[in-house]
Point group: C2
Chain length 339, copies 2
């Protein structure tokens, strides 16, 4: 691998001069510049990022940690992040924690070795509930770099963040169902060990109440944001023979589990039961399933996150900054919400 010294020797100048050419800094004679550039090109010389980082004491990499990249939501977010990273010539060091706190610990540790400029993190666990969560919070604090939390908030966080209006959107979902004439509503919740899960339940519950309805205990199914459990719960619900006329599913995987169970039980969506979800489902429109939802722009979330991180890097002392991505509503024909 060719180094700056090699280039300097080949060009018959000093390393310092080559460095000046490379960085467009300081004075350098036009002829010398040409010569050096020539050598660089001919030999495919590319400076080492490590050496630069070590010497300049600053990095050009950003850490990105997500809980499950094989969820389209995070794919979208990563897309958004990539767009902005590209504009600013930043490289991304990527981690997938697979929803495991221990993996998040390792990821943070590795990132700390890498001396990344900043970090975008979608936590695997709630930072205020489990002891491991609290450990993680400490570790993150110790990292002492700019951080933006995305998607999953916890209580008492002091980092910047980009979140979804979970409470509001869920509230809205209840309202929509009420407007469509439903009186008995149900919910398959997300993981209540995550703030985002609790918010959605609470928002929905409040929405139900504020519309003069009641949310019965037996119509609250406690899920975990995963398809498998949502499927089981839905199946149980259908088999019980007694269910709400409309349910609210708290995320895309939950919606999938619900739809699968409905299909297996020969329950017709939009006829026998109505459903409104949180998050769109990729192909729902193509298939004409009467699936309404409140959702967000995931790619935009990614863009926002990195922009916010860059602002924080720019100005480390500014007050905490939170961005709530507004929800949008996708109604698949109001009539369809009436069983």
């Amino acid at each position: 691998m060719i180094t700056i010294t090699d280039v300097a020797n080949l060009a018959g100048v000093s390393k310092a001069t080559v460095s000046r050419v490379l960085n467009n800094s300081g004075y350098v004679n036009e002829d010398t510049r040409k010569r050096v550039e020539q050598i660089v090109k001919e030999n495919h010389y590319v400076p080492s990022a490590s050496a630069i980082k070590l010497s300049k004491q600053e990095s050009t990499a950003i850490g990105v940690v997500v809980p499950e990249i094989d969820n389209l939501f995070y794919g979208d977010v990563l897309h958004g992040i990539t767009e902005i990273a590209d504009q600013h010539d930043l490289s991304l060091v990527f981690f997938d924690t697979q929803n495991k706190a221990e993996k998040e610990v390792r990821a943070l540790h590795t990132l700390s070795q890498q001396r990344v400029r900043g970090l975008i993190l979608a936590p695997a666990v709630d930072y205020s509930l489990s002891s491991l969560g609290r450990e993680l919070r400490k570790q993150l604090k110790a990292l002492d770099i700019p951080v933006v939390i995305v998607d999953r908030d916890s209580e008492n966080m002091h980092w910047d963040g980009v979140f979804y209006e979970s409470y509001q959107s869920s509230y809205r979902a209840a309202q929509i169902l009420h407007k469509a004439g439903h009186t008995r509503l149900g919910i398959i919740t997300g993981d209540l060990a995550l703030k985002i899960g609790r918010d959605r339940l609470q928002g929905f519950r409040q929405g139900v109440l504020d519309n003069g309805l009641e949310l019965r205990d037996e119509d609250i199914f406690e899920g975990d944001f995963l398809e498998e459990r949502a499927y089981e719960l839905s199946k149980k619900m259908f088999l019980s023979g007694d269910w709400p006329t409309a349910v609210y599913t708290c995320n895309n995987r939950t919606s999938l589990g619900f739809l699968k169970a409905a299909r297996e039980c020969k329950i017709r969506i939009g006829k026998d039961i109505a459903v409104i979800g949180n998050d769109r489902i990729a192909m729902i429109d193509q298939l004409g399933i009467p699936f309404s939802c409140v959702y967000r722009d995931n790619i935009e979330m990614g863009r926002m996150a990195l922009k916010m991180l860059l602002e924080r890097i720019e100005n480390p002392t500014r007050p905490r900054n939170i961005c709530m991505i507004p929800y949008q509503v996708h109604l698949c024909g109001t009539e369809k919400l009436n069983p």
Copy 2:
């Protein structure tokens, strides 16, 4: 940021000793070790990856370049890669080229600066067709690091690769349709500027022929692997009033476009027309759409890719290694393939 020198001073030993403790190398007195470890812990000291890389002249990072991370397929692949990376304590430097060759150029350049240990690459363009493709091939060769190509092959590639049995699976798709009693088959192709696109068309065509059928020119719709175009083509097909009894869609996005058009034209899948796709679609099972397909295990593809890369790094001179991920068949009731 605390450095090894600080730790050494605090512990009252030399940098070398600290280094020995850190790396478990050479002799070091038990007491000294304890003391150093204590200081390290207390001060949250984490060695700089850059400095280590520079000094050891070896990197622990792998580059990953995909064309569109907001396609679940690549999300899955990345998941697989992550699994293995984790086992080997490798970190990933990630790039999304958004299917643009120019972005791929930049990605390769950045990776070259990073001195990554190896590279897993799903190319945005065919490396043997366009001039930019040929440029990229040169650039990749100049990188001179272990490379594994995933998903998209080109002619005359000499790097290791993990691919899908595109030809075979498409051949099989034709066979399945024939067995189900169809006599007039159609195809919405992928991007024929990509080898993978051509392979699928050719495999299907051969399958059609070998089963004693004919693939009419007007039943070949030239798509580009994207939903939009597939939608337009399908719509055109349906509006023409004259179409095959069964079509083969070459990837997941194409399937989506097709299904959307079918729905809009009130065409009943499995009744008015049968469809067999390449790639599964995430929620197709949940919804009970009679959508058969040939598909692959994407996560396994990711795992394989990184394993292969590690083997190549281990043994740089071994002959070129290609792994073809076998296809699997998902039949959604044979009867459903009969319109």
